[in-house]
């Protein structure tokens, strides 16, 4: 707006000063030319908006803008000419001047077009840039949140604080057992914290960590926790994503042991063919005390991790039986 006023004033000044026309004529002619162009410039938004620099080839870009600018300048000069000739029909000196000025007005028109179009491009570019910044920061928070929640899910606070309480108790009863448990817990936590997403590890290492975990829970729950393992030796060298079994074990302990007043079993069964490692984790449970809300975040995390890792969603089978709950999970080996 301000820019247009300055241009208008300049135009008037030039006319008065160099061409010796009356003040009224000068103002009117400058107003008409400039207001018309200002209105037209709104229209220039469309060719700019629909002709993206990055998405169009140069030739395409050039023809589009040539066509648009010719049209805009044509309309501008013609409309101004029509209005001015009808306004000043009897002022011959001015009409002569107007006729002779058409070529350079066309030139100025193109110049204005280029200026305005580049302004619009700058504006669009700036907007896109701002949007991009916002999107990027949103993405970053998302990634952070998921990292944080996975960290939180790796270390279950009930498990941690109850284990610390057991240690606190053992320090008075049996310092040796307390020390064993501290070392076990430290190894377990170290393994959980050092793990990087998407990296594969051997079943053997994963199983070692599960054993540490079960040893700690065994100290807490004593006779209530009973683990049965059926693992074929060659399967130990197979690969799977690190810490993928941990949430399943925690679920088995949570629904099988935490909710049981008597001895309760957890089974870990591993079989393997050349292409695939198959692991079954099964726990006893009492259906009278646990309702359908038993699946929880742990399992859904494992499902989504398997999906991301192998790009398949048929690798987990959940089997809810009368008095036991079973998760069967397949790890393809030839990747």
């Amino acid at each position: 707006m301000i820019i247009w006023m300055i241009i208008g004033a300049l135009n008037t000044f030039i006319l008065v000063y160099f061409n010796d026309f009356g003040f009224v004529i000068s103002i009117l002619e400058s107003l008409i030319f400039n207001i018309l162009f200002a209105i037209l410039s709104i229209g220039i938004w469309y060719p700019v908006y629909y002709t993206d620099i990055e998405k169009n080839r140069f030739s395409n870009f050039f023809t589009n803008h040539l066509a648009a600018s010719s049209l805009a300048v044509g309309i501008w000069v013609w409309l101004s000419y029509v209005i001015l000739t009808s306004l000043f029909a009897n002022d011959e000196e001015y009409l002569n001047y107007l006729n002779s000025s058409i070529p350079w007005r066309i030139g100025i028109g193109f110049l204005f077009y280029v200026l305005i179009a580049s302004n619009y491009y700058l504006f669009i570019y700036y907007q896109n840039f701002k949007d991009k910044l916002v999107r990027e920061s949103e993405l970053k928070t998302l990634v952070k949140e998921s990292q944080l929640s996975s960290l939180k899910s790796q270390i279950n606070p009930h498990f941690l604080f109850n284990s610390l309480n057991s240690i606190s108790s053992l320090t008075m009863i049996s310092p040796q057992r307390a020390q064993d448990m501290v070392i076990n817990l430290s190894d377990f936590l170290r393994y959980s914290l050092s793990h990087k997403n998407e990296s594969l590890t051997t079943f053997e290492k994963e199983l070692q960590n599960i054993d540490r975990y079960l040893k700690i829970e065994k100290i807490r729950f004593g006779h209530r926790l009973n683990v049965e393992k059926e693992i074929l030796e060659p399967c130990l060298r197979y690969y799977l994503p690190g810490l993928i079994l941990q949430p399943l074990m925690e679920n088995a302990v949570k629904y099988g042991i935490y909710e049981s007043t008597e001895k309760s079993n957890i089974y870990i069964i591993a079989t393997c063919s050349p292409e695939v490692l198959e692991i079954v984790i099964r726990n006893d449970y009492d259906p009278d005390f646990i309702t359908k809300k038993g699946e929880g975040i742990g399992l859904s995390n494992v499902i989504s991790r398997m999906k991301i890792q192998y790009n398949r969603d048929d690798l987990i089978k959940i089997n809810r039986m009368d008095k036991s709950f079973e998760v069967k999970i397949f790890f393809p080996q030839n990747l």
């Binding site: 604080f161 309480n165 049981s260």
Partner: protein
């Protein structure tokens, strides 16, 4: 001074050992029993009438809160738990203290001191706990604990067909039988999953998938026929809500 009679209810052996150890040198404390779960806990409290109970919250099948709910006479309670999500509930229950595991000996003795001073005043325990326990959780319940004579029963919400108000009690009709519980209809209306249950009348809450048929019954009132026979009354607004929900 008479000894303070204590019961420890905690499902982990080492947890019980810890409390016992901390209390070992307290001469005015007598540990009457140690219980592994809520069922044993109820029996011990009813039989031995302790002054003070150390109560773990997370325990199998019957948690600490559920256990308190069905006790008529309640001793002083010191909760012990690993996680602070229950702190507000515990204080609403007028508990003496709330110990976060692992806790120090000083912390436990401090709680004990508070408990002893309360016991000395010896105010008769009101039934305040029963009222308050009705709205501890602002969430959907999964099971309901009831008491019939001396037996304790835990009913999974999945097994409920409908509920009927009976003065200060609610009769819970399950697929196998019925149980009386001291509670309000409002409590169940707020804590049963609204996707599965609906209050259709001042005196009735029904499981939606049990409805077979809706019939008018006199002026401005209706009845719902449930699977296998029983019918329940439905108010005018209940009828409207039910029709919307079931797309009848």
């Amino acid at each position: 001074m008479e000894k303070v009679k204590v019961v420890i209810i905690e499902d982990e052996e080492l947890g019980r050992e810890l409390i016992k150890n901390y209390l070992k040198e307290e001469e005015n404390v007598e540990i009457l029993a140690e219980c592994e779960n809520g069922f044993e806990g109820i029996k011990a409290i009813q039989d031995l009438k302790p002054d003070l109970v150390f109560l773990d919250i997370q325990m199998p099948k019957l948690n600490g809160f559920e256990m308190l709910e069905i006790l008529d006479e309640k001793p002083e309670i010191i909760f012990t738990t690993a996680y602070n999500q229950y702190a507000i509930q515990a204080f609403e229950l007028n508990a003496v203290d709330y110990l976060l595991k692992p806790f120090s000996k000083e912390r436990l003795l401090d709680a004990l001191k508070k408990a002893i001073s309360r016991i000395k005043i010896n105010q008769p325990r009101t039934d305040k706990i029963n009222k308050l326990i009705q709205q501890p959780l602002d969430e959907i319940i999964e099971r309901i604990v009831v008491k019939s004579n001396t037996k304790i029963k835990v009913i999974p919400v999945d097994k409920i067909r409908y509920l009927e108000a009976q003065d200060d009690y609610v009769m819970i009709y399950t697929f196998e039988g019925r149980h009386l519980k001291q509670a309000t209809m409002k409590y169940f209306e707020e804590h049963l999953d609204p996707k599965e249950f609906m209050r259709v009348h001042r005196s009735y809450i029904i499981r939606l998938d049990q409805v077979v048929q809706l019939e008018p019954y006199g002026k401005d009132s209706y009845v719902a026929k449930l699977k296998d026979g029983p019918t329940v009354k439905i108010s005018k607004s209940g009828f409207k809500n039910l029709k919307e929900k079931l797309n009848f």
